[in-house]
Symmetry: C2
Subunit: 346 residues, 2 copies
Amino acid sequence: MSSPSYDVCAIGNALVDVIADASEAFLQEHVITKGGMTLIDAERAASLYDVIGPTVQVSGGSAANTVAGIASLGGRPAYMGKVKADQLGSIFRHDMHAQGVMFATSPTAERRQEVREAVVDRRRGAPTGRCLILVTPDAQRSMNTYLGAAVEFGPDDVQTDVIKDSQITYLEGYLFDPPEAKKAFYLAAKTVRENDRQLALTLSDVFCVNRYRSEFLDLIKSEIDILFANEHELMALFETQDIDNAVAAARSCCELIVTTRSEKGAVISQGKNTFTVPAAPVAKVVDTTGAGDLYAAGFLFGLTQGMALDEAGRIGALAAAEVISHYGPRPQKKLKDLLNLKSAVA
Amino acid sequence: MSSPSYDVCAIGNALVDVIADASEAFLQEHVITKGGMTLIDAERAASLYDVIGPTVQVSGGSAANTVAGIASLGGRPAYMGKVKADQLGSIFRHDMHAQGVMFATSPTAERRQEVREAVVDRRRGAPTGRCLILVTPDAQRSMNTYLGAAVEFGPDDVQTDVIKDSQITYLEGYLFDPPEAKKAFYLAAKTVRENDRQLALTLSDVFCVNRYRSEFLDLIKSEIDILFANEHELMALFETQDIDNAVAAARSCCELIVTTRSEKGAVISQGKNTFTVPAAPVAKVVDTTGAGDLYAAGFLFGLTQGMALDEAGRIGALAAAEVISHYGPRPQKKLKDLLNLKSAVA
């Protein structure tokens, strides 16, 4: 088998983040689940947007943030996800390409240009999805996601040739929310298996785990080579309050498990081996959005470069530290330069 | 005459800023005038967007930034400017309202809904304008403006009742670029004069001054009560290399002149009096976009609150210092809190 063209191919809900500061009282008044990701419909998205403060718009989407991080580190990532051919969709597409990510999923409106004009008018479809992110003074982020065009991602959008040509395929747990994306998820998994590549999954969110627990467990046991989760997601998956029990349960299902624990660092488990990697220092945590996404970016980059697991974990910690030191879910600095700086100091 | 409802009413080109980091070499390669504002057409906007790095989108527009700052300080501002009813236009509108600015200019596409469908399709009009801002490592910003829907702002969009009801009307020099906006500018000036309010102008940009020097000079002599400029703009207006000569020349044309000089602070001239106000300290200058806009915000806020000129100048310096300490042209912190902090310390 020839060496793959891509280090990591990710599939996810393609979203633009709309970020605003908010107080604790605001979250309570508007019944927003703190720290979680709540799915909202178009109407709720509009009414919530009306009451939030001034916003910053940046490309987001969990797996998309991860591949942006991999590109910033110097890796070769690909991405699949659905936007509409509208202004927010253009922003998402631009940022993928500008960061160096291969991204060729056709947007929804383009396809519809193929049908005749009258039909185009009637079936204009949902706009590019967005995530309204409210950042409280403690730097915690509370996400309200209107999936929009992302719900139209389906098996036809899975470029199996790209998956065949990727060392690792990385999937979001969030993909279980749009029905067609879930089918795409299984097609991607099948393609990975048939081509003897590796499949990685992130559990995404505690509420997401609660929605799809049994499906996630089946999938992890049968298909997943590398599992990413934060401690709360892993405990939710195995319905335990004890992180050691959760990690032990995960070990019996999956070969390689990366569990992030915020400022307590990460635990990397492979077979009988366990590595504990400390969190990288951060002068001031501004916005925790993207912390898990960027940890995965650093770890996957290290892994695909052939580094040891603990070294890959340290790159994850560095990438996560950069992203939580500013607003927005993607690196503002070229992460490759951070690695060079670290080498220069060491 | 009753007390006005608004402290400041601003008219400007309504734009969304698209911000990316860039190197000096990139500016040279793509023939971008460093530190200036260059008007670009739709084609150039698209080709430049294709080659710049990942971006952040935030509402901008010079006078719009100023009124956002006034609202953030606790003042009562209004704004007039033209967007299209598209996604970027929604972002601009949201941010004005979320900040507490009265903004009711009808967007271009809404009006067109009044004509029959067939016409709507043919005359879809330009999208909301945007400014591609490239920030070099020295924190200097180079602006490339595609005016888009802003060119459709005209005299019909001037809400004369709002101008009558505003203590000060503040106009951008940039309004001279779109032909219809220039007509609106003169209507606004006439309304101010007839209602015995005050008219303020910012010279906006050296290249803008060079485009409209004689018109600006006529206008300042006949209509302007308060002139804002940075030292380079003022020297360009009077075609001198000497800032003292430029200020002296300005004094013979205008009652109150606020000249900003970056880290050298500001010079405020009223009749025979001159106040020199130092710049406020900034730990690290990240992006100078909006420095002049926010200086004007602080000064106009102070002035409309009845403060002494030097005190108003100090509020301008504080507001400018906040905005250059992060990416984007509008305050990230509630500026009112900075004033309170300062009072608490003093």
